[in-house]
């Protein structure tokens, strides 16, 4: 069984996450995919404080599950070197109704950005630049 939160150097399969989130009790499955944007960069490096990031992502996931009565929630975040267009983060939430599924997905994303110890570096022809946190 796939873990509900994952930090991986492998490509993320949003389709498999969506499939796992489907159930007879879920009337809505909402997904978010964050991808590497081409701002004149050649590639992106993503780094994690891995075990701490995993525990923080699991805490966020559980908060979302209870706040929004989710049927299922999964989060996957890439690390390593990513090409333009590749997925950095994927979030899938299912719920009985769409409002909760949308809210859960957004909650996990916003909390991840402010709480999970992860960093991105953009590499261009001019050199590398760590993305400033929000």
């Amino acid at each position: 069984m796939a873990p509900a939160v994952e930090i991986t150097e492998e490509e993320i399969s949003l389709e498999q996450m969506m499939q796992r989130a489907r159930s007879s009790q879920a009337g809505a499955v909402v997904s978010f995919l964050g991808t590497v944007r081409n701002d004149g960069i050649e590639w992106m490096e993503v780094e994690a404080f891995r075990d701490l990031a995993l525990s923080e992502l699991e805490a966020i996931r559980q908060e979302a599950m209870s706040r929004f009565s989710l049927q299922a929630a999964e989060v996957a975040h890439r690390t390593g070197n990513l090409a333009v267009g590749e997925a950095i983060v994927a979030i899938v939430c299912s719920a009985a109704h769409r409002e909760d599924a949308f809210s859960g997905c957004r909650y996990i994303l916003e909390q991840l950005k402010s709480r999970a110890p992860l960093w991105k570096k953009e590499i261009s022809a001019e050199g590398g630049r760590w993305v400033e946190g929000e």
Partner: protein, 92 residues
């Protein structure tokens, strides 16, 4: 006294991902950071404002708990403590 130091992102590029540091007697977080700064001008530039104040973008954890870089800088480290140094989070 031995302290494990973990560094991430830009600080990892300067200090390395993980190292053990041996300190003589009691040492505060500030003294440990000053030791890094005295050995590495790159670290000094990345971490310090003029007059040795820590830059806002230096975040610290001791034993996986965030500490206040102003209030807790003089906290004495214990043998076996783990100090993590990193910039503001930027995942997603």
């Amino acid at each position: 006294m031995r302290v494990k130091v973990l560094a991430f992102a830009g600080f990892r590029e300067i200090l390395g991902r993980e190292r053990e540091v041996e300190m003589q007697g009691d040492a505060s977080i500030r003294e440990l950071l000053e030791m890094f700064a005295s050995c590495s001008p790159r670290f000094r530039e990345a971490a310090s404002e003029p007059f040795c104040a820590l830059r806002d973008h230096v975040l610290l954890m001791v034993n996986r708990k965030r500490i206040d870089a102003e209030k807790d800088l003089y906290r004495i480290l214990a043998d076996g403590d783990e100090l993590a140094i990193f910039p503001p989070l930027a995942g997603g």
